[in-house]
């Protein structure tokens, strides 16, 4: 065995240029795989973080009645005493922060034209502890009284504040400081319309927020929508988890526990609410993995070629070894070792390069704005930097897959060599 390894190793060294070129192909395949995996993980994390931080939160809690009829935004089915529930949920295992939100259908206009929107009532005190709207804001955040007041708004009608998507504002020809007319149906079914002053404009990664969403405060909505302290949902932020799978699992667990603790409540994790989106992420990822596997298979062709050339150059040697009593299996093993040695070299170089690139991606990041510009709508921020995610499992997979590919690639010509009779091999020219 040692001699076979020695022969294989020395043949690799003897044809080091050829072996190195093949190993480099494998190295590129492995390194690209590791880097792309890290990038994809980073993108997935950004996408999911954006989903959670901008709209979905980790877990949403509704009344069961509201959830069943949520498509029609039935304000009357909201949570009547949210404060007690907020206090209770705040002490739940895994829950970090809780904030109320109330969604309603409305029309926003500039007194000439109007557009249908989804209105979101927020608590300016607690909302930023769960959502990160402030990070995407031009102008200022709400300055009106904070908290879910149960009585009429303390602010005068003209002081009512609104934040809306920048694209929505542009469609209506509006900008900061101007007044919009918001038209909505109150909790009791009455039509109400009032002026709101634009205090902030949002440019997020969620096109829904940018184009068709407006935000107002409970201080204004208690009066404007007759909420009187009622809220339609509570949004929970969970304690942070290491990776997406853990985050999904924890969110599902918390949602399930809340649902089981009270039959009048329905809790849904972001994974349940946006299952389709997560599935899309998986599919997108599978597509890219297939592309990268193709790169590795191209590297495999290189290994087949290297071993095949080695076999043809050494067919007489095969004849001699068989004449000396080497079995077919040992001939196969000798050439396979040679292919594996090249593959291993490529895999190790690929892993080293891949890890170096991954470290760069994790700590330095990719300047997206310089690469892609603002493409928006994909759920990924195309400004600032995109950072990679550490994934040792992917590195291990890439190396093992590379070795498996090398093994199969080397086996094909090796078996061919072993099948030749000793005489045919000795007479091979």
């Amino acid at each position: 065995m040692n001699t076979l390894i020695r022969i294989a190793a020395r043949n690799v060294v003897r044809h080091r240029r050829r072996a190195l070129i093949t190993a480099l192909t494998m190295m590129v395949g492995i390194a690209v795989f590791i880097w792309m995996d890290s990038l994809m993980n980073g993108m997935d994390k950004v996408s999911v973080d954006n989903l959670i931080n901008l709209h979905d939160s980790s877990v949403k809690v509704f009344t069961t009645a509201y959830y069943k009829d949520r498509a029609s935004y039935p304000l009357e089915s909201g949570i009547a005493d949210p404060q007690a529930l907020i206090r209770r949920l705040s002490h739940d295992r895994g829950v970090s922060r809780v904030t109320p939100r109330t969604e309603f259908l409305a029309e926003v206009g500039n007194y000439r034209d109007s557009l249908p929107v989804v209105g979101v009532v927020v608590d300016p005190a607690s909302d930023p502890t769960v959502f990160t709207l402030k990070d995407y804001l031009t102008g200022s955040y709400f300055t009106s009284p904070k908290g879910i007041a149960t009585g009429p708004s303390a602010s005068a009608s003209s002081d009512r504040q609104i934040i809306l998507g920048k694209e929505l504002a542009e469609k209506l020809g509006l900008t900061l400081g101007q007044t919009v007319l918001l038209d909505a149906t109150t909790r009791y079914g009455a039509e109400n319309a009032d002026d709101f002053t634009i205090v902030g404009l949002l440019t997020t990664t969620d096109p829904g927020l940018n184009q068709s969403t407006v935000f107002i405060t409970y201080a204004d909505a208690n009066d404007f929508l007759d909420l009187s302290g009622l809220t339609t949902e509570l949004d929970l932020k969970l304690k942070s988890r290491v990776n997406l799978a853990d985050t999904v699992a924890e969110a599902n667990t918390v949602a399930k526990e809340i649902g089981e603790s009270s039959p009048t409540l329905t809790a849904k994790s972001f994974a349940e609410i946006d299952g389709g989106f997560l599935q899309l992420l998986k599919q997108k990822r599978a597509g890219i993995v297939i592309l990268i596997l193709i790169i590795l298979l191209i590297a495999a062709v290189g290994i087949v070629n290297t071993v095949l050339m080695s076999v043809y150059e050494r067919i007489r040697e095969v004849g001699v070894l068989k004449a000396l009593g080497l079995s077919n299996r040992e001939v196969v093993w000798m050439f396979t070792l040679e292919g594996l040695a090249v593959g291993l070299l490529g895999c190790l170089m690929g892993a080293a390069l891949g890890i170096a690139l991954e470290v760069q991606l994790i700590f330095v990041g990719l300047p997206l704005d310089k690469i892609a510009g603002n493409l928006g709508g994909s759920g990924v921020a195309f400004w600032g930097r995109l950072y990679g995610e550490w994934n040792p499992g992917a590195i291990l997979f890439a190396v093992l897959f590379g070795l498996a590919v090398s093994l199969v690639a080397a086996l094909i010509p090796a078996r061919r060599a072993a099948r030749m009779t000793a005489t045919a091999a000795l007479h091979f020219v």
């Binding site: 001699t3 022969i7 007489r316 068989k322 000396l324 080497l326 009779t421 000793a422």
Partner: protein, 231 residues
């Protein structure tokens, strides 16, 4: 003497380009244990084909080859491999050394493949036989660093080192000067006498023919004569 190899009605034909070549056309030959047989004949008479068939490197088109009474024709690839490993050694006309192994490693190779001896014993035997063929001091050289004659001597050392029962040698002295050729033939004679190693040479060399117990003359794939050496 006991019969070690017996060929009965061995025929071998193969296709070369468009032509059907009858390399052997019915060979009956018996080789005794400890025989030293020189197979002679003009080029194309079937000498190398005969050696290949005796060494199970090639199978006859018809007829049978018996080794120690056992028919080789029905053996599996694995059995043939074991047969070669345990009983036969080859000396090829074109040396066929493994280029990436040193002289010492090349000579040790048959013992490594056979896996019967301890590492130290392999080394001792290899060094002794390399010394016997006059290459002491060249243990660590690679084949590319040797002359044709030196390569031939390494090939001979490789064939003899495992002390096989039968040595099949295709023109073993073709690339040696007369002095070295005599030394090599003497070494083979010594092995033949001491260990009853059977030697079958394909040769044109009168020296080898002189030392052979028997000379088998082939012509056009048939045995023309089979008799005691003139020596």
């Amino acid at each position: 003497m006991a019969t070690i190899l017996q060929l009965e009605g061995v025929r071998k034909s193969y296709q070369k380009d468009e032509q059907r070549v009858e390399a052997l056309r019915g060979i009956d030959l018996t080789i005794e244990r400890g025989d030293l047989v020189a197979v002679v004949g003009p080029s194309g008479s079937g000498k190398t084909t005969l050696l290949n068939i005796v060494g199970c490197l090639d199978l006859p088109s018809s007829g049978s080859v018996l080794y120690d009474g056992r028919e080789l024709g029905g053996m599996s690839e694995r059995e043939l491999s074991r047969y070669r490993k345990e009983n036969i050694s080859f000396i090829f006309q074109s040396y066929n050394l493994i280029p990436v192994l040193t002289v010492l490693e090349n000579v040790e190779l048959p013992m490594v493949i056979e896996r019967k001896l301890a590492r130290a014993e392999m080394r001792r035997r290899a060094e002794a036989i390399i010394d016997a063929v006059g290459l002491a001091g060249m243990l660590e050289r690679f084949p590319r660093e040797l002359s044709g004659g030196q390569e031939q001597r390494v090939a001979i050392a490789r064939a003899l080192v495992k002390e096989p029962i039968v040595v099949l040698a295709d023109e073993p002295t073709a690339n040696l000067d007369s002095h070295t050729a005599e030394e090599i033939v003497a070494l083979m004679e010594r092995m033949n006498a001491e260990r009853r190693t059977t030697f079958v040479f394909s040769t044109h060399d009168a020296l080898v023919q002189r030392h052979a117990h028997r000379v088998v003359t082939l012509r056009d794939g048939l045995i023309q004569s089979n008799g005691r050496s003139a020596a």
